[in-house]
Amino acid sequence: MPLRPTFGNPDLPYPFLENDQWHKGEPINDVKLHQRIDGPLEDLGQVARSHSHNWVSFRANKTGSITGSATLGAALIPWTVIEDTHNGWQPLDNSWHVPLNARYLISCQVAQSGVIAGVNLWLAGGTDPNGGQGNDAIFPLRSPNFEPIAGGGAGISTILDLFTFYDICAQVTATVTALSADSCWLAVQQVGWLT
């Protein structure tokens, strides 16, 4: 019985079954079948399985005193790592190294226990291997000021397409006392892929 061509399923995505990969009269053997069916199927399966499974996830929090600085990159927050699925945290640099080219949701929050004003949060990334910070910071995002009341805080949520040469880190512009781990976090969650 001749082998059927594989154009019977037109809804399948490019490129696995697009074009005519079987030629009339072409002898078929198990190697060709393996290359043209098993291989693409395996690729598709890997994409399906990894889609939202095993996404990169980094979560960290902080309590106690946080040394701040008005100079960007001068006093990065030494987060306490709770989860780091792809081992991106660089403890000596207080920065998180992006392990995969992908789209990430980044959420960062710092709240402090006393009354303080004029402080804000920086979230930044760069290519400087020494913590990813300094004059070459690529995307320093700065929050509004802390509210001048007890328990004031500042937060940033953003989605960024990041490449593996980025390091992500955060700092506040003046020294504060973190309200609790519940109130201070840096979360980086992969939410998509870059192609």
Partner: protein, 189 residues
């Protein structure tokens, strides 16, 4: 939910003759068509279908007093899909049994100025704690919020929103003015 079994490394070899190919119609259908169909169904189901969405708002006509650390009972369900359940009586959302990756947002606007923070209680320990605190109130804006925060749920958690101090939620009665709301949007499995 997981995609079914990995295709065999070489599933077309004849079981006894390595130079031959096993290719009868039912066999090819099983090994190719069914796998492709399953894969298509799986991938077309991602990432938007069958994911949970939950949004609730508080629309009381007048200001509503909430005690410190009391769960806010948002009374209007705007969206609730994907199997999770919301209880107005308790103010708790039960995460679907399958769990997954969610984005959490909570906002409250007050009738009077109070220094407080919103927090989402009952979240799993992906942040090392059972609660996530949002920003403190702004004196002018009289609001507090937990911004988009990714949280991974194991499934079945009961989650609610609480203020750290006694507050009075601003009255809202109509759709489109949802100043007090709680949202959990699933973005992955």
């Amino acid at each position: 939910m997981a995609y079914p079994a990995t295709p065999l490394a070489d599933q077309f070899s004849h079981p006894t003759n390595p130079r031959s190919v096993l290719e009868d119609a039912p066999d090819m259908h099983t090994k190719v068509d069914l796998q492709l169909n399953a894969l298509r169904a799986y991938m077309f189901g991602q990432p938007t279908a069958n994911l949970a969405q939950f949004r609730a708002s508080h629309r009381a006509a007048g200001a509503t007093a909430i005690a410190a650390n009391a769960t806010i009972k948002f009374d209007t369900t705007l969206t609730n899909t994907g199997g999770g359940s919301w209880s107005v009586a308790t103010g708790l959302y039960t995460v679907p049994a399958a769990g997954g990756l969610f984005l959490a947002t909570a906002v409250c606007t007050l009738a009077t100025t109070v220094a407080f923070r919103l927090y989402i209680s009952g979240v799993p320990n992906t942040f090392g704690s059972a609660n996530i605190n949002g920003c403190a109130i702004s004196v002018i804006a009289r609001s507090s919020r937990v911004r988009l925060v990714p949280i991974r749920f194991a499934g079945g958690e009961t989650v609610g929103v609480r203020p750290t101090a006694a507050i009075s939620i601003e009255g809202i009665t109509t759709a489109g003015t949802e100043k007090n709301r709680f949202e959990l949007i699933q973005i992955g499995v």
